[in-house]
């Protein structure tokens, strides 16, 4: 192949680098090696993007129910890590909180989980939130419009995004055309719906009045809800009120008061650092990066080894070491950039498939894609830095 016609990447890189783009020319000369390297980098970035996607879905699904709550502060049992393990707290604490200056309303919320057996024998886990329908602990407009229906005995609102269910009867449910749901040997009337979506533990949510909740969970007591959602008076400073509440409960020591954002952050930290699933995703990211480093190192070190005599020749005629480092880094950055693109495209497609199949909040976003791009290029640069050790073997004196 005559190279009288120079490719646009070559011309563009030459302008950018101010020298012959030897790294690009070497990579593109050996197409098989280039495609193998790009495949490896794409695989590594795909692995990292998928792990970050699952990690992000975990964080997003943890935040979903909290984001549905209309509260500036949240009172929970002192040992609460996550919604699923929020121990009951004495209701008197909520009454005490209501008397603190700046507090407008404190809503008691009961939390429980029910298994809903499907006709095919499979089970859906539903997180049930029980509250007084005369209060407004959730800010969703649709929920507020319908929550009066919960005053009727054994009437519930159902999450239409519940995973792996036939959503048609849920979406069709109306106050005057309820859909019957059998749970714990009780017939519940689904009178309406809302949309939150499942997470990694529960498949969806069910809203009930506190009275219906207590009938579904007979071992629970009306005097021991799981959460107190604190709404503040207009103009009240959340930090000041939180400090007052903590001071109020200091001697009791059985509850903690946090802002909603702090609760979400604590729950997400717990999920990612204490629960196996979060740790697995964290390890997955590290493994993905290691796979990438190994593959790119193999490619670059082989490339250096194959061109050792040429490099030694250039060393002999006076090229400094930094010139060769530049070639290796040029190759590393090119592999990082070109390998990232297919990884991003495949990951975006897989995100859509996973979101569709599982209902998890998985979507590609610019900060994540940007971070993985930088990580991929850094990974390739690290591999290049390791591979440059071989350059030391290019001894020009051995050429004669």
């Amino acid at each position: 192949m005559s190279r009288s016609l120079r490719s646009w990447p070559e011309l563009w890189l030459e302008r950018l680098l101010g020298r012959l783009p030897i790294g690009w020319l070497q990579l593109s000369h050996s197409r098989t090696r280039l495609y193998a390297a790009l495949g490896g980098v794409s695989f590594a970035s795909l692995l990292v993007l998928m792990q970050l996607g699952f990690h992000g879905a975990l964080l997003g699904s943890v935040a979903l129910p909290y984001r549905a709550m209309d509260a500036q502060l949240l009172i929970s049992a002192a040992d609460m890590n996550t919604l699923a393990d929020a121990s009951p707290l004495p209701r008197v604490r909520l009454l005490q909180a209501a008397a603190v200056p700046g507090v407008d309303q404190v809503s008691a919320v009961f939390l429980g989980r029910l298994d809903w057996r499907q006709p095919d024998g499979s089970v859906r886990a539903l997180d049930v939130l029980g509250f007084d329908p005369s209060e407004t602990p959730l800010h969703d407009v649709e929920i507020r419009r319908q929550q009066g229906l919960l005053n009727l005995a054994d009437t519930v609102l159902m999450d239409a995004r519940t995973r792996h269910i036939d959503a048609a009867p849920v979406l069709a449910a109306q106050p005057d055309a309820t859909w019957l749901l059998e749970l714990r040997a009780r017939s519940l009337k689904v009178a309406g719906h809302f949309a939150i979506g499942g997470g990694f533990s529960a498949d969806g949510y069910l809203l009930a009045s506190d009275q219906t909740f207590l009938r579904l969970f007979p071992n629970r007591s009306s005097g021991a809800p799981n959460l107190g959602l604190v709404q503040l008076q207009a103009g009240a400073d959340p930090a000041v009120v939180a400090a007052l509440l903590r001071e109020r409960f200091r001697d009791a020591g059985d509850v903690k008061v946090r802002s909603l954002d702090a609760v979400i952050a604590d729950d997400q930290r717990f999920q990612t650092t204490q629960r196996p699933i979060g740790l697995i995703f964290g390890f997955g990211i590290v493994i993905g990066l290691l796979v990438g480093v190994v593959i790119v190192y193999q490619v670059l070190s082989s490339d250096v080894a194959d061109h050792l005599k040429e490099y030694a020749t250039l060393k002999a005629i006076g090229y400094p070491q930094r010139f060769f480092l530049g070639i290796v880094f040029e190759e590393a950055v090119i592999l990082g950039l070109l390998g990232f693109v297919p990884g991003l495209l495949i990951a975006s497609g897989l995100y859509a498939v996973v979101a569709w199949k599982t209902g998890l909040p998985m979507a590609m976003n610019v900060p994540r894609a940007g971070a993985v791009l930088l990580g991929t290029v850094a990974m390739c640069a690290l591999s290049g830095a390791i591979a440059t050790r071989r350059l030391a073997r290019a001894n020009p004196a051995e050429l004669f």
Partner: protein, 239 residues
Amino acid sequence: MAAPHDVGPVSLAVRGLQHAFGLGEARKQVLFDIDLDIHAGELTVLMGASGSGKTTLLTLMAALRSVEQGSVRLLGQELCGASEAQRVQMRRQLGFIFQAHNLHESLSALQNVRLGLAVHGGEAAQAWAQAGAHLLAQLGLAERLHHVPAQLSGGQKQRVAIARALVGNPVVVLADEPTAALDRESALQVVHLLKALARERGTTVVMVTHDSKVLALADRILTMEQGRLVDDRRSAAGF
């Protein structure tokens, strides 16, 4: 040593040069008391059997190895005790022709030649295209400027390597069996080119070779045996 007459100034001066490889019991001395002046404008041939030390001498004069004992002054600069950076700087004034062409397989002939000039950076790099193409044409490769090495014969590759060595107008050219891979016609063409460089530009050319065709064109022939310079004669062809 033969006293130089009707020759240019000394560009390579070697005094009391000794060199050894290895340490302790494994130490092996390969050069003994070499004294030598090589002049500008001369085509000097270095001969000797394998293991005679000619390659080691060439690498020391080329600033490719550290001079440990004795003195080598290259273009007036002492190489004994020179740092790696100083030696790299010195080598930029030299032209190297190796027995193996060592061309970049992914680069065209012209781009390979360009590497010989780009090392000087700046304005030299700007002039590469014209100078490279002109030199390749002089070496009979005008039709092969944009061919990669895989599309060139062994002789053509070697001529590209020679062009790479000469394109920067080096003051001293050091060559190791540069005509070994060439046919008679190409070999003579290359040697005539080197000789013309020496004559017209005052370039110092030092060449290791066994090629009788080259010997006939040399100005001076040095012979080494077991690490010592045993013969130094001027060729009749040189005058």
